[in-house]
């Protein structure tokens, strides 16, 4: 299949021969790659290369026309997004999603998965357990907000913070879902350099603590500094994969970017 798909012993995510067409357009064209546990893997490619489509296929938002997705060795192809999430895969979106009528703190508390308080019956059957998990989650949310140095935003309406701050909140919230592998779609797009630096540090720190990352990013400096290995996507399929240095000097990659993917 695709070249460069080295056999990976400990892959947390494995995409095999994935296909998806919209009308006549093959947005994902026999894509094959794997994300090794413990890495920060970069996913780059020109506009329209199919990066976001790939995220949607992996996370269960789109149903693939062919191929398989494996998370932690389990085939999750065709499962609902919430089921994929239960296997430890969480994703963010390219355009930040704002929660109307919630404070940042509340928006954070949507993060933890399978809270006892999410069961209507338990609200009345075991309110004590609900309160206990809510206070644990609240403490955890505030701890993470502090680590991200955005605890001063906690009481702000989630719709009133800047786009860059929103990106930080999204990352912080995703961490509350305790993912094994976190998919970030353009985490620093439109983010000022100071915040981008902060995001980079956070991703690196979380990675050291055990979270695997797969991230899409157009900011080459950012991605080359942070990610290794890097997977290059062009016209729906994997063009190449390798170290930042290897990818940067690859003529096919340069062609793909200069050619604008057409």
């Amino acid at each position: 299949m695709s070249e460069g798909a080295l056999p990976k012993e400990d892959a947390v995510l494995r995409v095999d021969d994935l296909q998806k067409s919209f009308g006549g357009l093959a947005a994902t064209d026999h894509a094959t790659f794997a994300v090794e546990r413990g890495t920060i893997t970069g996913l780059i490619g020109p506009n329209g290369a199919g990066k976001s489509t790939l995220f949607n296929l992996i996370s269960g938002f789109y149903e693939p026309d062919g191929g398989t997705v494996e998370v932690n060795g389990t085939d999750v192809t065709g499962l609902e997004p919430y089921e994929v999430a239960d296997h430890g895969l969480i994703r963010t979106f390219q355009t930040p999603r704002k929660l109307e009528g919630m404070t940042v703190r509340e928006a954070m508390l949507v993060g933890p998965r399978n809270q006892p308080g999410e069961s209507f019956v338990k609200l009345f059957a075991t309110p004590g357990a609900v309160a206990e998990s809510e206070s644990t989650n609240l403490a955890e949310a505030e701890r993470i907000l502090e680590e991200f140095e955005i605890d001063h935003l906690a009481a702000q309406p989630a719709t009133d913070i800047s786009g860059g701050q929103m990106k930080l909140v999204e990352l912080a919230r995703a961490m509350l879902a305790e993912p094994e592998v976190l998919l970030l779609d353009e985490p620093v797009a439109g983010v000022n350099p100071t915040l981008a630096k902060k995001l980079k540090d956070q991703i690196r720190r979380l990675n050291e603590q055990g979270t695997t990352f797969l991230l899409i990013e157009h900011d080459m400096e950012f991605v080359m500094d942070l990610a290794d290995p890097i997977v290059v996507l062009d016209q729906g399929s994997v063009l190449t994969e390798g170290t930042p240095e290897g990818v940067r000097s690859d003529d096919r990659v340069i062609d793909a970017y200069l050619g604008g993917g057409t």
């Binding site: 999603r97 509340e106 308080g117 609200l123 609240l138 009481a155």
Partner: protein, 392 residues
């Protein structure tokens, strides 16, 4: 902080719209009291109005649990109300063409089961799809239910409706004979206009008791649900369903729960109406009920339980308060005027206060958790939504 233990501090703590609502409510209560004392408003009729207000409050609670919490567009409020009303009427009335004669509690259970099944029937095919599908399907459902009630005479008596419905407390100890055993009272507050409290008054007060029980229980359940992690998932879905899905929430299941819960509450309103009015007919399924419920929720503030309560009371006030128009010689019929008035109110609210009169508090976190974690309560930035500790 409660209004009773420390009224001044409690009032100072209210937001501006809350103060406004409190003021208007107090003035309105005084006005009603004056009308009662002068005999302009009969006490029995007054209790009937309280019952109606409770009924509309239930309807708007139900719709709020669907639209306000989750963003589900349900245009068949009248159908669920009608299912509740007919379900209990057909089980309990002497004139019921099918079962009949059962204890009203049986009627209550049957009505709720029917509403539950109907909610599943409409929810299963539509809730996986985009929001507009439920809207369209529910529009159709309302008409289907109305036509079945109108045409299936063997089942519903058709256009004749169902008569001979017992009071809800029939067969209960003490309460079933309470109105008859109470003595007739004659109160003279203002000389020359005595107030008579007779059997019909006591019967009406039982109805008020019933609706207070229904609406009170519903309010408590909703309040807890709304500020829980469960309610938070619903609000996430309303704002951005994909985000909820990406964070591992089974949004289909949550939407179904919200839809079923709201539908059951609407049916509860129908059950109460049956035993209040003691007659149900196909006219009770007219879409106007759906319209009123929507107006009440939007007026009160989508997503807010108190808002729904407030909206329900406003609707009854407008509906019944404009009855005097019947006595005034007007060039046009008062019914459309009433709708016009409601339309004007809605446009004014949308223009000047699009979030409604009493929108939900911004921060909803399981209350005891906030104390446990010892974190400071929500402060700056959400000033307006910061109400007393009492609201949802």
């Amino acid at each position: 902080m409660s209004l009773l233990s420390d009224p001044e501090a409690a009032i100072a703590d209210l937001s501006r719209p809350e103060k406004w609502v409190l003021g208007v409510s107090a003035a309105f209560a005084l006005f009603l009291l004056a009308a009662l004392l002068t005999g302009a408003l009969g006490p029995t009729y007054f209790l009937f109005l309280v019952g109606l207000a409770g009924m509309y409050a239930l309807l708007s609670f139900g719709l709020n649990a669907q639209w306000g919490y989750t963003g589900l567009i349900n245009f068949s409020v009248a159908a669920f109300f009608g299912i509740g009303a007919y379900g209990s009427a057909l089980m309990t009335a002497d004139s019921s063409p099918i079962a009949g004669g059962f204890n009203p509690l049986v009627g209550l259970v049957v009505a709720l089961v029917l509403a539950f099944v109907l909610a599943l029937l409409i929810g299963i095919p539509t809730l996986r799809l985009r929001a507009d599908y439920l809207a369209i399907a529910s529009l159709g459902l309302a008409e289907v239910v109305r036509l079945i009630v109108l045409n299936e005479r063997w089942l519903t008596n058709g256009s004749a409706g169902v008569r001979g419905i017992p009071s809800f407390f029939e067969g209960w100890p003490v309460l079933s004979t309470f109105p008859e055993t109470m003595p007739g009272l004659r109160l003279v507050v203002i000389p020359g206009s005595p107030i008579l409290l007779e059997t019909s008054f006591w019967r009406a007060s039982l109805n008020v008791l019933l609706v207070l029980a229904f609406a009170g229980a519903t309010f408590l359940v909703l309040r807890r649900a709304h500020q829980s992690p469960w309610g938070r998932v619903l609000r996430t879905i309303r704002s951005d369903e994909d985000l909820a899905r990406a964070l591992g929430k089974n949004t289909y299941s949550f939407k179904m729960q919200s839809f079923v819960l709201g539908s059951l509450i609407m049916a509860l309103a129908g059950v109460f109406y049956t035993h209040l009015n003691l007659y149900v007919g196909p006219g009770d399924l007219d879409p106007i009920t759906t319209f009123y419920a929507w107006v009440a929720v939007i007026l009160g503030g989508s997503g807010s339980n108190r808002g729904a309560l407030f909206g329900g009371i406003v609707i009854v006030t407008i509906r019944e308060g404009t009855r005097f128009l019947n006595d005034v010689a007007l060039p046009i019929d008062p019914a459309p005027l009433r709708l016009l008035l409601i339309g004007v109110v809605i446009v004014a609210v949308m223009r000047y206060r699009p979030q409604g009169i009493l929108p939900p508090q911004r921060e909803l976190i399981w209350p005891s958790a906030v104390d446990d974690a010892g974190s400071d309560p929500p402060a700056s930035g959400v000033r307006e939504q910061k109400g007393g500790g009492d609201d949802e």
